[in-house]
Amino acid sequence: MGVEAEVLAQLLPEFERTHPLVKVEIQQLAWTAAHEKLLTAVAGDATPDLCQLGNSWIPELVALKALEPLATHLASSREIQAEDYFSGVWQTNTVDDTLYAVPWYVDTRLLFYRRDLLKAAGFDAPAQTWSGWLTQLRAIKRMVGPQRYAVLMPLNEFEPLQILALEQSEPMLREGGRYGNFRSESFRHALGFYRDLFAESLAPTMTNQQVANVWNEMGKGFFSFYISGPWNIAEFKRRLPPELQSSWMTAPMPGPDGPGVSNAGGSSLVILHSSKHQQSAWELLEFLSTPAIQQRFYELTGDLPPRRSSWQGGAIATDPYTQAFRTQLERLRTFPQVPEWEEIMQEMRIMAERVVQGQQDVNSAVTAFDAQVDDMLAKRRWMLARQQNKAAATP
C-alpha cells in the first residue's frame, strides 16, 4: 500500500535470488481505497497470498475468516520471536488469543514540537504529565497571542482523543467488547481535557484540510505542538527550511500522571486463508522481518520497525527524531480488538466535534454515545451469545 509497495519492489530481488522457485508479484493499493478494496477482494474470493494490513483491520478480516492462524509457522520459525517485538503492537495482531499477523512496521503517535517556541515560553523540554503539558500550552498561547495556537488536534482525526482515552485506566468497551464504556469516569476525564484545549483556544477548531499545509504552518509557528506519527519525520525534514531544522523535535506522549502511553497503530503482514502458497508466503514474511531488511526498509520509507533488534543498527539507531518513538514503543496500549472499532472511532470523532463546538456537554454526549455504540455492537453480542450456546450444546 502506498509507498511501501514501491519500496518493496527494490527489496524483492534479494528474496527471489535466495528463493529461485518463488516469483513475487506486487499489487499496489492506495491507502484511501485499500480497506474497501480488500473487503471486496475477500467477498469476491480474489485475495493475494501475503498482504499488508492496517492492524486495526485485523479483527474485521478475522471475522470474515479470511486470515490464516500463524501459530504453527511461528513455533518452527528461527527468524521471528515474539519476545523481540514491542508487546503492545504484537497484541494488536492477536485476536481471541490466536495470532493472525506479524507486525511489519509501527505507527504510534506522539508529540512533534517547536523547541525554540517552547524554550521562548520558558521550558527546556515537553512535560511528562497532562498538568505540566497544560501549563506549557497555556504559556505558549499567552506568548503567541490570539491568532496562533499552542497545539494542533485536527478535528477530522480521531487519534488524538483515542490516545488521551487509551492513557486512562478504564477501557473504552466493557464485557469483552459487548458494550460501550464511554460514560466511565476515565473517558469523561479524557474528553473533558480534550474539550478544554479547544475551549481555552489552545487548539484551533480546524481540520487538516482547513490548515491546508500543516508543515508550513508549524514552520510559521501557527501551532507549537502536533500529535502525529513517524511518517511526518521525513515530511518535516523535507518541507521545513534549513534554518528551522534544529528547532523541531519529537517527544513521548505525556500521561495523566506520568509518562503516557500511545496507540499501537501500524501495518502487519498476514497470510490469507485461501492462499495456495502458504509456505512461500511465510518465507517472504520472514524475509521482510529480518533486522537487516527492516533497517533498509526504514531508510527507504521512514517506517519504524516493530522489533527491538532492528533498532540496533543502521541509520535508525542514531537518528535524533526517532529516539522518542523508541521510548514510546515500550509504552503502547492496544485498542479493543472488535471489527466495529473503526466505525466506533469515527462516530466518537463526530461526537467529540459536537462537544468541542459546544453543541453538547460531556455528560449527555457520552451517555448518548454509549447507547449508539451498544447499537453498533448488537450484532456482535448476538453472535457471541450464539457461539456460547453452541459450545454449551456440544459436550
Binding site: L39, V42, P339, E340
Partner: protein, 301 residues
C-alpha cells in the same frame, strides 16, 4: 378479417419482442436483477458477519426502514441534501440558461471559445478541481475571501463553518455542472426558427419581450427535461462532499448518498445501506412525477 389482422399483429409484436430481447436481457441482468437483489437485501441485516458466513444473516423485515426513520443522521443527511437541491437547482438552471443565452447571442464574439471554456469544468476531473477549490475557499489564503475582504466584507470560514460549508459545496457543484445543461439549452435555442424572432421584432417587440414570449415558451419542454435531470442528479450528491469535506464540519455536508456509502462500503452494513438506497429512490421518483405533472400544467396554460 379481424382475426387475420389479429394474427398478423401478434406475429408482428412477436418479432418486435424478439428484436428487443437482447436489450431487455441486458437490462434484466445488469439492472433489474441487482435492483431486486438490493430490495431483498434491504429486508435483511446483511453485514460483515454475514459476508463471512451466510448463517449469520437474519431476515429482519422492515426493521432497517424503521431504524432508518429514527436515525437522526439520516434526517440530517436528508435535510442537507434538500438544502443542496433547493439552493443548487435554481442556481444551476439560471446559470446554464444565462450562459446559453449569452453564447447564443449574435453579439457574442468567439462563440466557439466560450462554448468550450464554459463546458470545460464538466469534463475536468472533480478531484483535481476540488484541490484548486480548497485553496480558493481557504480561510486565510483563499482568493474568494481575498475578494470579500477587499470589498469590506468579513472573511468566511467556508469549509470550517457548518453554516457556510453547504453553500461552498453548492458553489462548486453549480460551477462544475452548469456547462452540461448549457449545451442542451443552447441546442434548443438554436432550434427556434429565426422567423419567429423576425415576426416579433416587426411587431415592435424588445429583446426582453422576445426572450419572455418567444424563447422561454419554446424552451419549456427542454427546461422541464433539464430540471428533472438536475433535480434527480443533485439529489444524488456524493462526490463533491466526498472530496471536499468528507461530510464535515459537524456533518453539515453529509448527503443521503454519502450516508449510504459510509454505511454500505465503509462499515459494510449492506442491508441497511440498501434500505437507504430504496428510500432515496422512492423520493426521487415522487419528485420527478410531481415535476412532470407541474410541467404538463404549465404546458396547458
Amino acid at each position: 378479417m379481424s382475426a387475420r389482422a389479429n394474427t398478423r399483429g401478434y406475429a408482428q409484436s412477436q418479432s418486435g419482442w424478439l428484436f428487443a430481447l437482447p436489450a431487455l436481457a441486458l437490462i434484466g441482468v445488469f439492472f433489474l436483477l441487482p435492483v431486486i437483489g438490493a430490495l431483498l437485501l434491504s429486508f435483511t441485516d446483511f453485514d460483515l458477519y454475514a459476508l463471512a458466513d451466510v448463517g449469520n444473516l437474519r431476515i429482519v423485515g422492515l426493521h432497517n426502514y424503521h431504524t432508518l426513520l429514527i436515525t437522526p443522521m439520516f434526517w440530517k443527511a436528508l435535510g442537507n441534501t434538500t438544502v443542496f437541491v433547493i439552493l443548487g437547482v435554481p442556481l444551476s438552471l439560471i446559470a446554464s440558461l444565462g450562459a446559453a443565452l449569452l453564447v447564443d447571442s449574435r453579439l457574442t464574439r468567439f462563440k466557439d471559445f466560450f462554448r468550450t471554456a464554459l463546458f470545460a469544468p464538466v469534463v475536468t476531473t472533480l478531484v483535481a478541481v476540488a484541490l484548486i477549490w480548497r485553496y480558493m475557499l481557504h480561510t486565510r489564503y483563499g482568493l474568494i475571501n481575498y475578494l470579500l475582504t477587499h470589498l469590506g466584507l468579513p472573511a468566511i470560514d467556508w469549509l470550517g463553518d457548518p453554516h457556510w460549508s453547504m453553500p461552498a459545496i453548492v458553489l462548486l457543484a453549480v460551477w462544475k455542472n452548469f456547462g452540461y445543461n448549457m449545451i442542451i439549452l443552447l441546442a434548443a435555442l438554436q432550434n427556434i426558427p429565426e422567423d419567429l424572432y423576425e415576426a416579433a421584432r416587426l411587431e415592435g417587440a424588445s429583446a426582453w419581450h422576445c426572450l419572455r414570449h418567444v424563447s422561454l415558451p419554446l424552451l419549456v419542454p427542454t427546461l422541464t427535461l433539464v430540471s428533472i435531470i438536475t433535480v434527480s442528479g443533485y439529489f444524488q450528491l456524493f462526490a463533491e462532499p466526498y472530496v471536499m469535506t468528507q461530510g464535515g464540519p459537524l456533518q453539515s455536508t453529509v448527503s443521503v448518498l454519502y450516508f449510504m456509502f459510509e454505511q454500505g462500503f465503509k462499515w459494510w452494513n449492506l442491508g441497511f445501506a440498501s434500505a437507504v438506497a430504496f428510500v432515496l429512490f422512492a423520493l426521487i421518483l415522487v419528485l420527478t412525477l410531481l415535476q412532470l405533472r407541474l410541467a404538463r400544467r404549465l404546458g396547458e396554460t
